[in-house]
């Protein structure tokens, strides 16, 4: 082994022996440190995975959704609008969509009723999301009765449940046939909730939206990328909220760690004097302390991060779920697909490992440059 490497190995060995000598102090420090990294990493991993999930879900969404506005409010859009869109170049497909919200006072929850564009549903049948099935205690073959806009009760037979893998977006969904939808909400034929547009070239989406605004001035185009940005903002806000809550804990830890790491006991000062007197260089002493800081902080970082990974992706982030996921009666149950953001990982590493290591080195620098003859006196 090269001399330089062997030297570092000796220093690390001695550092480990030193850490074990002050076991109570260092284990306590490691535990608190790990907990802080765990909490911060859990929030980061969870929000990042949610963002990924949202982006993944929206991948299949139309590039543009066109809504008609009346007095600044979203209103139904007619077939004539659909026909006029045909004149805009770049639009690949266009389709009117039917969807709406229904408040069910029985369970105090909002459902999303929708006519699926890609599957046929028999009139009087419904396919429901797992959240509704759980809340109302329904399974295939059961009946669901809802009060329509005409004040009459409309009964649906549950033909099936939606795949639970898509629960993040389908938890509150009720898929129905078009005639039922129109009858239930009183939407006249030829009217739609909005229009979904597919654009051939993604680069042209903004241009197409611009043309639509000029062609149909009573509408507003909603771009997929804007929806994504909104999701991002929401998750960032929630992440920030939790981070603020954790800030107090982080600050307390900083004070605690600074005190533990930077406070040199008389015994430690004496040891540094001995090591220098028997031939250690100032740089050896500093390196030893660097390893001490690095070993503690790296161990805490790895344990905390691994703990957070398990917490978020295997235990469904039980500790932070209500804040980060939001509140709902029809709470979706879902497991997140593991996603780690390199930049976030690096940021967390920098703000946890780096300050602690510096905090251990600075006071040692002062102690290590003193004359070694102090041990003789």
């Amino acid at each position: 082994m090269p001399i330089g490497l062997q030297r570092q190995k000796y220093l690390i060995d001695f550092t480990l022996a030193s850490l074990l000598r002050r076991r109570a102090k260092n284990v306590g420090l490691l535990a608190v440190y790990t907990l802080i990294v765990f909490a911060l990493a859990s929030v980061m991993l969870y929000t990042n995975a949610l963002r990924h999930e949202a982006a993944h879900v929206l991948e299949g969404a139309p590039e543009i959704v066109l809504q008609r506005m009346v007095a600044g409010r979203h209103d139904l859009i007619g077939e004539d609008h659909l026909a006029r869109i045909g004149q805009v170049r770049g639009v690949q497909t266009k389709a009117g969509r039917l969807w709406g919200y229904f408040y069910d006072p029985a369970v105090k929850a909002n459902y999303t009723l929708m006519v699926p564009p890609d599957r046929e549903i028999a009139p009087g049948d419904a396919i429901i999301g797992a959240g509704i099935a759980r809340t109302r205690g329904l399974s295939a073959g059961d009946y669901l009765t809802l009060r329509g806009s005409d004040g009459k009760a409309h009964t649906l037979r549950i033909a099936g449940l939606l795949d639970s893998r898509s629960e993040l977006v389908s938890s509150d969904l009720v898929l129905v046939a078009e005639p039922f939808f129109r009858g239930f909400f009183g939407v006249p034929a030829g009217q739609y909730t909005d229009i979904a547009l597919r654009v051939r070239n993604v680069q042209e989406v903004r241009k197409v939206a611009e043309k639509l605004t000029l062609l149909l001035p009573d509408t507003r185009p909603i771009l997929r990328e804007e929806v994504l940005r909104t999701y991002d903002a929401i998750f960032n806000w929630r992440q920030g909220l939790v981070a603020v809550l954790l800030l107090g804990a982080v600050l307390a830890f900083v004070v605690f760690a600074w005190d533990k790491a930077s406070g040199l006991s008389a015994e430690e000062r004496r040891e540094i004097g001995i090591l220098k007197a028997i031939g250690w260089e100032t740089s050896d002493v500093i390196r030893m302390k660097f390893w001490e800081g690095a070993i503690v902080s790296l161990t805490a970082f790895l344990l905390g991060y691994l703990g957070a990974y398990v917490h978020v992706f295997f235990a469904d982030a039980a500790l932070f779920e209500p804040v980060l996921k939001g509140w709902a009666v029809l709470y979706p149950r879902f497991s997140l697909v593991p996603a780690v953001d390199g930049l976030q990982l690096a940021t967390l590493f920098f703000f946890t490992v780096f300050p602690y290591t510096v905090a251990t080195i600075v006071p040692i620098w002062r102690a290590a440059i003193t004359d070694p003859d102090t041990v003789m006196r």
Partner: protein, 224 residues
């Protein structure tokens, strides 16, 4: 071997509490001899030993090891000279608590970065030589006074230095242990080492193994 030319050492220089611990010492220390610096507390023995052993620098004057000027060396080189040329036995032994006897002995060799197996073998040989082999795995604080001092001697010898410096080595030992220590010193001299001691213990300066006694008083040599 070691030559001191008008060496002076001041503490707190330029301040109201300025104090000259060494006030002009000229001294030559021969190789393969046992030299004792004798004198009362505060006579400057320890300060002089520190400067000879490269633990501190003189305020004025020069210290030469063979023909090499030590007093002007930058800290890094001074440390290297200290590590390779001098071995120290301190009055309080200064072993590191909480680590084993074996590790305490090996500590001065860590910055050299030699192979671990060779270093361990060397430390075990020294411990065996001083009757401490059975205590290799003990923690330093579990040792008796005599054992702690012998461990300190092993530590001082691990880098095979040419000069051994011991500051008041018998201050914490009873008469029998003091005699045992001087017997070890005689053995080291026979092995070709140069030994430099500071003491005001007659068990030390009256010992037949001692070749020369240098008396100090108030930072000066009283008799050479």
């Amino acid at each position: 071997m070691i030559e001191l030319l008008d060496v002076k050492k001041a503490f707190n220089q330029g301040r109201p509490n300025e104090f000259w611990a060494i006030r002009g010492v000229n001294l030559t220390i021969d190789a393969n001899r046992v030299t004792v610096l004798k004198g009362p507390s505060g006579s400057g023995k320890t300060t002089l030993l520190s400067m000879i052993g490269c633990l501190s620098r003189p305020t004025e004057g020069r210290i030469l090891f063979e023909t090499r000027l030590l007093s002007g060396l930058p800290e890094r080189f001074l440390t290297a000279v200290r590590r390779e040329t001098f071995g120290f036995i301190f009055q309080q032994f200064n072993l590191i608590k909480g680590v084993t006897v074996l590790e305490n002995v090996m500590l001065p060799a860590y910055p050299l970065g030699g192979p671990r197996r060779r270093l361990e073998a060397r430390a075990h040989t020294l411990l065996a030589q001083f009757g401490l082999e059975a205590k290799a795995g003990y923690r330093a604080e579990w040792l008796s006074g005599g054992e702690a001092q012998r461990t300190a001697i092993c530590r001082a010898l691990v880098n095979d230095p040419r000069v051994l410096i011991a500051d008041e080595p018998t201050a914490n030992l009873d008469t029998q242990l003091s005699r045992d220590f001087m017997a070890i010193v005689a053995g080291l001299k026979a092995a070709g080492k140069t030994v430099l001691l500071s003491s005001h213990d007659p068990e030390v300066y009256d010992c037949p193994a001692v070749d020369r006694v240098v008396e100090m008083r108030d930072g000066r040599l009283a008799r050479g």
